[in-house]
């Protein structure tokens, strides 16, 4: 690495990682056997040795990494931007051109400077210079010969002042300074954002304790075989494939592509008739059903018929405590007790005695998670019992049969018209209106915060 990075206290850790990788690419490019074929390149009337054309660079990258030309161009551009390769034509413009423009590998001027000095003074560098020199030597060992060669070349050139070398030197330095002192308007590639980390190594012993604790716990945990877990991913992706608009498209069309919002209108929160895909999704998992407002409503209707709706009401009330305001917890817990748990309650829920006892005990000191056990019990009850029966019920089957399958609208239907992009009411607006209406109809009592019903 260069003195620059070292001098900054080695704080640019993120840059170090990609510099190392870029250097790997550069080293591979310079490999005598598999690397780039360097030759004399013509720049107007001057001949520059050890250069390569933009076109060659791209071809080499495409071949070596098995990527497209577009990607090689992009990667090559990065190498130029970061100064690993510099252009001999138009040195002010750090861009890789996929043509016959000549380029050369950059070696940090400071490195060359020290190498030159070393050669000239036969090893009589200053102490600090010696230190840096050997550090550099260690770090760029693989290209050291190249550095020495460049240094020798430069020394020779300064004696003979050959035009070609002067051009090369100029370009080299220009490129170097363009990167380290970018003119306004040009991206500063050395910009790494905020310095990170801020807190590293501050808590060495505390963290070691934590690691040991975590490892001990982890050793005791139950693990599932990889084959079983990984099959799970396959199943999930397959099941949801048709529901993934980026993979399969969506009906009638993707609003972002066609500028038509029909897809969103048809899949709004509450619609008279839902789409088929949506109703199908309710059968994927209990969570899918509950997470969909319409699904939940349908399920509630079904439970009413079965006289077990109190379970869903109870579950909803518990969710409200868990995610609601801290200040309302006590009041809500009392309500739940009155409506669902007290003997003779209007919507008494059937919880096993152990959980019931634990919950009643916890109610004496109500907190956010006091209902968790009871809520889970009822959740799994619904999931194992009511949910499968709902999916087999006429109610669900009819819903599925009635559901819409939208017609696909191809973009070509509107070949020359650019559709009007209509705005939609902001959720903030509808909420304010709703709040106003609620305020007018005072004393309604059912005032959950505007937050929870989206």
């Amino acid at each position: 690495m260069t003195i620059n990075t070292l001098a900054k206290g080695g704080c640019h850790r993120e840059q170090m990682a990609c510099f190392r990788k870029m250097e790997k690419v550069i080293v591979a490019m310079q490999d005598p056997d598999m690397g780039m074929k360097m030759r004399n390149q013509r720049l107007l009337i001057t001949v520059i040795p050890h250069a390569m054309t933009g076109h060659d660079i791209i071809a080499w990258l495409t071949h070596k990494y098995r990527i497209s030309e577009e990607e090689s161009l992009h990667l090559g551009n990065m190498l130029v931007k970061y100064g690993y390769i510099y252009p001999l034509k138009e040195p002010r413009c750090l861009v890789l051109r996929p043509d016959e423009s000549p380029y050369r590998f950059q070696v940090r001027p400071l490195t060359i400077y020290l190498a030159k000095k070393n050669i000239r003074k036969q090893g009589e560098l200053m102490e600090y210079e010696k230190e840096r020199y050997s550090l550099l030597h260690k770090r760029i060992n693989h290209t050291w010969d190249f550095v020495v060669m460049q240094a020798r070349e430069q020394l020779r050139a300064s004696k003979q002042r050959r035009k070609a070398d002067r051009i090369v030197l100029e370009c080299q330095e220009q490129a170097y300074w363009l990167i380290n002192r970018p003119p306004p308007g040009v991206n500063n590639v050395l910009d790494t954002g905020l310095e990170r980390p801020n807190n590293f190594s501050c808590r060495v012993t505390l963290v070691s304790d934590f690691i040991i604790e975590a490892c001990r716990k982890a050793l005791g945990r139950n693990r599932v075989k990889s084959s079983i877990c990984l099959e799970g991913f396959l199943k999930y992706s397959e099941q949801y494939l048709n529901h993934d608009p980026i993979m399969q498209g969506c009906l009638p069309s993707n609003p972002w592509i066609s500028d038509d919002t029909a897809h969103w209108t048809m899949n709004a929160e509450i619609v008279p008739v839902p789409t088929r895909l949506r109703v199908e999704r309710w059968s994927f998992s209990f969570m899918e059903l509950l997470n969909d407002a319409m699904g939940r409503r349908e399920f509630m209707t079904y439970l009413e018929k079965e006289f077990s709706a109190e379970n869903l009401y109870f579950w909803q009330a518990c969710e409200d405590i868990r995610h609601g305001e801290s200040s309302k917890i006590v009041e809500k817990v009392e309500d739940i007790y009155k409506n669902f748990l007290a003997p003779g309650a209007a919507r008494w829920v059937n919880i096993d005695s152990k959980t019931m006892d634990k919950t009643l005990e916890g109610i004496k000191r109500p907190h956010r998670f006091v209902m968790d056990d009871a809520q889970m019990h009822i959740y799994f009850l619904m999931k194992k019992d009511s949910y499968p029966r709902y999916l087999k019920s006429d109610l669900y089957k009819n819903m599925l049969a009635k559901a819409i399958v939208p017609q696909e609208t191809k973009k070509s239907v509107f070949p020359f018209m650019r559709r009007q992009r209509h705005s939609s009411p902001s959720p903030a607006q509808t909420a304010t209106q709703a709040a106003e209406e609620e305020g007018l109809a005072k004393g309604a009592g059912a005032n959950s915060a505007a937050g929870s019903h989206f």
Binding site: E238, S424, A431
Partner: protein, 391 residues
């Protein structure tokens, strides 16, 4: 904060703050005098403890790896051989949102699938209707580098924060005359920059992560700290809430190269993964909640399965040299999108482990990437001051 440079043996150099040294003194009982440069000479007792702890944790870690390896009977790409490959993949920029005056650092979608909130280095937080590209609200924060922003589930508020070490909630008012900044509510308070924030299932709670190495859960109404999560050894850079049935866990990633899974109720770290070679910039759950993906400065994305308790896939390529700033899954979890520091977006086949496509367009690094709630598109924010919607 003044930092004292302490050199221990084995060339471990720690920069310890005065306050931390004070804490160490009392807990280790090795040092009695106030911090002085001569502290270096009192290395010996401290070193022994550290060395001992280090060997113990190394031994445990290798034991853990052994245990994990026992149940690893097959690789993901092997299992995925029977799955059909993905065909030609075409995604283009469908909208470009211009308006920020500096680097875009973060963005989030509204549940209505078309609105987004974005924040930038110059302190501006903007709410857009991405579909029409209209700006609907704009707030100027009193600090620069607003690294975190989030949309409330109701769509009625946004949260944001950054170098001010706080997370503030702004209710979105449609009254043009109303100054949004006036209604601002300070919720979270950390001792270092805010790196990420997210509302939980409602507008009432916010989860934050910070450069101070901790995550925290806050009650929005009162600003009260509900739970804090300690365990990262360095800045925490990202977090994501689990989409599970019982909804009680989240994952965080940090500069210590670790991804930790936490129980929100107890504050305990329930699982930890350390296979990345550099800072973890982004973590995102697989849609089923059984796994999560991470993106790191080491230029790789990785997939960790929570039931198998191990890393199950690495998404990397020799030609990809620059770090990943953010990742997200497509709706079915088949595709993983990564925004990279070399200005590109790489699209990965999650099951087969191959790179499906590379997208060009941004003129500087991609700093944030999120798929829309209904999976119809994804949005990227970049240091080139713009946001793009891709579909």
């Amino acid at each position: 904060m003044k930092k004292n440079k302490i050199t221990l043996t084995n060339n471990i150099t720690c920069f310890l703050s005065n306050s931390f040294l004070v804490k160490m003194k009392t807990s280790l009982k090795y040092m009695r005098s106030p911090p002085t440069p001569e502290m270096a000479t009192q290395e010996v007792p401290l070193n022994e403890t550290l060395a001992h702890l280090k060997t113990e944790s190394e031994t445990l870690k290798s034991k853990l790896e052994e245990e994990r390896a026992k149940l690893h009977d097959v690789e993901l790409h092997q299992v995925a051989e029977k799955v059909e490959g993905l065909g030609q993949f075409v995604m283009k920029t469908r909208r470009t949102l211009k308006g920020h005056g500096n680097k875009v650092l973060c963005m989030d979608w509204c549940k209505d699938k078309r609105r987004i909130v974005s924040s930038s280095q110059d302190g501006k937080v903007i709410v857009w209707d991405a579909f029409t590209t209209n700006k609907e609200h704009a707030v100027t924060m009193p600090c620069t580098w607003v690294m975190a922003c989030a949309y409330a589930p109701s769509g009625c508020a946004v949260a944001c924060g950054g170098l001010d070490n706080k997370c503030s909630v702004y209710p979105l008012s449609l009254d043009k005359n109303e100054n949004l900044a006036a209604k601002k509510k300070s919720v979270a308070m950390h001792t270092n920059y805010l790196s990420a924030c997210s509302f939980t299932n409602s507008d009432m709670q916010i989860l934050t992560s910070s450069g101070d190495g901790t995550c925290a859960l806050w009650d929005v109404e009162s600003g009260q700290l509900l739970q804090s999560f300690h365990g990262h050894a360095a800045d925490v850079l990202c977090l994501d809430l689990a989409p599970s049935e019982t909804g009680n866990t989240f994952v965080s990633g940090g500069c210590d190269k670790k991804a930790n899974v936490w129980d929100m109720r107890s504050g305990q770290c329930i699982q930890s993964f350390e296979t990345h070679e550099s800072d973890i910039n982004s973590v995102r759950y697989y849609p089923s909640g059984d796994a999560f993906a991470s993106g790191s400065d080491d230029a790789t994305c990785r997939l960790y399965d929570l039931r198998a308790d191990r890393e199950v896939a690495i998404y990397s390529k020799d030609s990809i040299i620059f770090g990943v700033s953010s990742v997200d899954f497509s709706l079915s979890g088949r595709l993983l999108f990564g925004g990279y520091n070399d200005y590109t977006i790489n699209v990965w086949d999650v099951l087969k482990g191959t790179r499906v496509s590379i997208l060009f367009g941004h003129e500087n690094r991609v700093s944030t990437l999120r798929v829309s709630p209904d999976g119809t598109a994804f949005c990227t924010g970049s240091w080139d001051h713009t946001l793009r919607i891709w579909a």
